[in-house]
């Protein structure tokens, strides 16, 4: 039984803060979608089927703008290419005897946050751990969207603005403890941040989309890490 499985329960517990952190972001998504003319039920359907922040925000903005389907698909794909790297990293962390069907199932729940928590676990991870970890964030994402879609006009703009920082604050909470313990991690973070800043502010480089700049910054920083700070116990 899944509910008796200690791995599942442990994952479920780890998912609680992610779910609560997702709620305000999903809430903002619900507001964005409905204020752009998308029916609340469809906004929730987007959250249930996409379960991703940046990709579905961008895709939904394009739907609202009336962009062609090809452009919507391509933009979303580029933003989501980073999941290739995350999924690859998790493939090395998942117990090797996990079946392909189970792998295909839990890969649906890989998000920046579930990935980070799973990847930062000390030991190998199991299918039931991943199911537990994904469970609450998935419903937090959907419920937050539904709430945002329903009450979108009631909330003052200031609160909406303030909630925009939630995801990034969660990212910071995931990075900083690792950076405190390891100079290598600190160096990798510095390289990644420098490159993404270049792509944001340097003329010419600014044309590169956010999706690609994340991928390039991640690849370059991790390459530098593997060359200059190879890990001992791997």
């Amino acid at each position: 039984m899944l509910f008796r499985d200690p791995d599942f329960r442990y994952g479920l517990k780890k998912g609680v803060p992610i779910a609560l952190g997702y709620a305000p972001v999903a809430f903002t998504f619900g507001i964005l979608a409905v204020s752009g003319g998308i029916p609340p039920s469809l906004a929730v359907l987007i959250s249930l089927t996409n379960l991703t922040s940046a990709g579905q925000f961008a895709g939904t903005k394009l739907i609202i703008a009336g962009a062609p389907l090809f452009e919507i698909a391509l933009t979303t794909l580029v933003i989501n290419i980073r999941y290739l790297l995350m999924s690859f990293a998790l493939s090395q962390k998942l117990l090797p005897n996990t079946s392909m069907l189970k792998r295909a199932l839990i890969s649906f729940g890989i998000t920046d946050e579930t990935f980070a928590l799973a990847a930062l676990e000390k030991d190998d991870i199991s299918f039931s751990y991943m199911v537990g970890l994904i469970c609450l964030p998935y419903w937090g994402w959907a419920l937050g969207t539904a709430l945002g879609a329903v009450v979108f006009s009631v909330l003052p703009g200031l609160v909406q603005n303030a909630m925009g920082i939630a995801l990034y604050a969660m990212f910071i909470a995931l990075i900083v403890p690792g950076g405190k313990k390891s100079r290598a991690v600190l160096a990798i973070v510095a390289i990644a941040v420098t490159i993404s800043s270049l792509f944001t502010w340097v003329p010419g480089l600014k044309q590169v989309s956010a999706g690609w700049s994340t991928i390039i910054a991640t690849l370059a920083a991790c390459l530098a890490g593997a060359v200059f700070f190879p890990r001992e116990e791997v």
Binding site: N50, G55, A73, A169, M170, R231
Partner: protein
């Protein structure tokens, strides 16, 4: 309506594919120290690249974003956990936008 449904379907597919391909098909453990070191750093690099400088544009004005980021960094330094860091940053942004 059917155009939106088609778009949602396409978005779901192109979101699922990059998530599923490596994890579903790479069952072998790679032994290369280089590759394993590379993958160990992926969460830190990817989250860092996504956070900065995007966080500066996440609240509508630079000052409140900087204050929110500062609060998040301090709370994270003392390892306060995901939720406290997120709520602390939201509160910091909210009050700095009211007061400043």
């Amino acid at each position: 309506m059917s155009r939106i449904l088609a778009a949602v379907f396409l978005m779901a597919v192109v979101t699922y594919i990059p998530r599923a391909l490596p994890m579903t098909f790479i069952k072998k453990r790679l032994t290369s120290r280089f590759v394993r070191s590379f993958l160990y750093y992926v969460p830190y690099a990817a989250l860092a690249a996504m956070t900065f400088p995007a966080i500066l544009y996440s609240t509508g004005d630079l000052t409140s974003a900087l204050i929110g980021m500062g609060v998040a960094l301090v709370l994270a330094f003392y390892e306060k956990g995901l939720l406290i860091v997120a709520l602390g940053a939201i509160a910091a942004v909210f009050f700095s936008q009211i007061l400043l």
